[in-house]
């Protein structure tokens, strides 16, 4: 117990030092940047406070919270669609070799294409907001699909045998064994998919969306050379992403408590 708390203290100290050194190095890089382009950490911090506390519209016609709300909306939209398709497809193709034979060639063909490469296609084929939602969808889809498929394949066959001897028929094997047994894997896919979906937001908003967005904000501020605002936007993306992943991890742990891996 005593030893454990000491280890915890050391870990805490190291993490703190690491973060502190990061900001010191950054600050040093910023003040010694001869072009003066890189803002210092305090510049960014004050910029975040300023843009978060003002109701003034920027030159794109939006207040900052509009940008945040728009991006969140697009990411959740794309993510929910991705999960709604990827989970059933994954459950099916993990269970049935025939279903896998149908889905696998298409999945393997499309998976290596970066979501960003789809932007021209999205602009032509979808209307706002589905163009940007589509990019997020692509980012979130594959991790959820692959995890779900892996989860179904990892179901211990002895559990299926046990369920059969207890009278379960095929459909009940599926709903009462395969699906619940796959939940930890599905949740891992959801966490990773959500993270990647959020990371695609800046590029997704390159499609020229209406209604703002953090991606729009960053591009616009970059165009007029306001780098402290660009960095402030990046930071907000980082913080929101962090909060999302933390929440997803929390839910994942709760739902997977029965699995001894966590």
């Amino acid at each position: 117990m005593k030893r454990q708390s000491r280890i915890l203290l050391i870990q805490f100290f190291l993490s703190g030092m690491s973060l502190f050194s990061f900001f010191v190095l950054w600050w040093w890089a910023a003040v010694s940047d001869p072009r003066g382009v890189l803002p210092t950490p305090q510049d960014i911090f004050t910029t975040i406070i300023r843009i978060a506390s003002t109701n003034e519209r920027d030159f794109t016609g939006h207040v900052f919270s509009d940008h945040v709300a728009s991006s969140l909306f697009r990411v959740f939209y794309g993510f929910i669609l991705a999960a709604a398709v990827a989970i059933p497809v994954g459950l099916l193709s993990g269970w049935s070799l025939y279903a896998e034979s149908i889905s696998k060639p298409i999945v393997e063909l499309l998976r290596p294409i970066p979501p960003f490469a789809w932007i021209p296609f999205a602009i032509i084929f979808f209307r706002d907001p589905f163009d940007s939602v589509f990019i997020v969808y692509l980012g979130a889809f594959f991790p959820i699909l692959l995890s779900t498929t892996a989860g179904v394949k990892a179901v211990d066959s002895i559990l299926l045998d046990a369920a059969k001897t207890l009278g379960a028929r095929r459909q009940q094997l599926y709903s009462k064994v395969v699906v619940p047994a796959s939940i930890p894997h599905i949740m891992t896919g959801i966490r990773i998919g959500l993270g990647i979906g959020w990371m695609t937001i800046v590029a997704a908003e390159l499609v020229g969306v209406k209604g703002g967005g953090l991606g729009v904000y960053i591009h616009s501020m970059s165009d007029i050379g306001r780098f402290e605002n660009v960095f402030a936007g990046m930071f907000i993306i980082g913080i929101i992403g962090f909060l999302m992943i933390t929440t997803a991890t929390f839910i994942e742990r709760r739902l997977s408590r029965w699995a001894e891996i966590l």
């Binding site: 559990l159 059969k164 001897t165 207890l166 009278g167 009462k176």
Partner: protein, 259 residues
């Protein structure tokens, strides 16, 4: 003797073929298991004991021959044959209660009826106080109690047990054997119990079948007429042990030579 035959194993042959390899697990096996008896199957490792049990359970199709339950041919798994695995095979996301309830859910029994039954079997295997605990938090002995309760709650005609106490320590094992006998006496279920422990078989069984080394055939059937609860150190107990061990030793040696 007027005993009703519940299970008939007729000319049962099982050959596993994988790539080029061909393994004969069982050859022309014939057995009868009577209603309400405690029937033990013993034999050297790899003699096909587990395969036989899985065929009776309907999890594995025979290559030739058949298994009849109440004169009806076994073709697939069903709730009339409960199986208890050595690895427990509990659903890890379900609590003790929900594990025992599984088969009743499958049957579609109403909730009040399910509660009644689960409550009874929780009590029967002595798991009161652990109803809402997940399998990972239970000891091995307790896990196997849950598995036994889960199989019994389904009210099967026969309880198939595949080395259920094989992974337990010696003390827990002895306790579980005794508790299993109590449960068996209360429920009067037919039990087919696979083990590689002679001691366990002699302690539990009405009759013991000794299988030969692979491919498995019936070597000998022994009736154990000692009164229960049996004294593991008694002379009668030793006499039965000795006769089985002698048969078994020859087979184990054969099996070792083959490997």
């Amino acid at each position: 003797m007027g005993r009703n035959t519940l299970i008939q194993v007729r000319n049962l042959t099982k050959v596993f073929e994988k790539d080029e390899a061909r393994v004969e697990a069982l050859i022309d096996l014939n057995l009868d298991v009577y209603q309400s008896e405690f029937f033990c199957v013993i034999g050297p490792t790899g003699c096909g004991k587990t395969t036989m049990l899985r065929i009776i359970a309907g999890l594995e199709p025979p290559t030739e021959g058949e298994v009849l339950l109440n004169n009806r041919r076994v073709t697939k798994p069903g709730a009339d044959r409960g199986l208890v695995f050595q690895e427990f095979a509990l659903f890890p996301w379900r609590t003790t209660w929900k594990n025992i309830e599984f088969g009743l859910e499958i049957k579609g029994l109403p909730p009040e009826r399910r509660r009644e039954i689960v409550e009874r079997y929780v009590k029967l295997v002595g798991l009161q106080g652990f109803e809402n605990v997940l399998p990972r938090q239970l000891s091995s002995g307790m896990k196997q109690r849950v598995a036994i309760a889960r199989a019994l709650a389904n009210d099967p005609e026969v309880l198939l047990m595949d080395e259920p106490f094989g992974s337990l320590d010696a003390q827990t094992r002895n306790i579980m054997q005794r508790e299993l006998l109590t449960i068996w006496e209360q429920t009067k279920k037919t039990v087919v119990f696979v083990t590689h422990s002679v001691d366990e078989a002699v302690y539990l069984a009405d009759r013991i079948v000794v299988l030969t080394a692979r491919p498995g055939m019936v070597k000998k059937i022994v009736e154990v007429e000692l009164p229960r609860i049996r004294d593991r150190t008694g002379e009668g107990f030793y006499a039965v042990r000795r006769s089985i061990l002698q048969e078994l030793e020859i087979e184990v040696e054969k099996a070792m030579k083959k490997n």
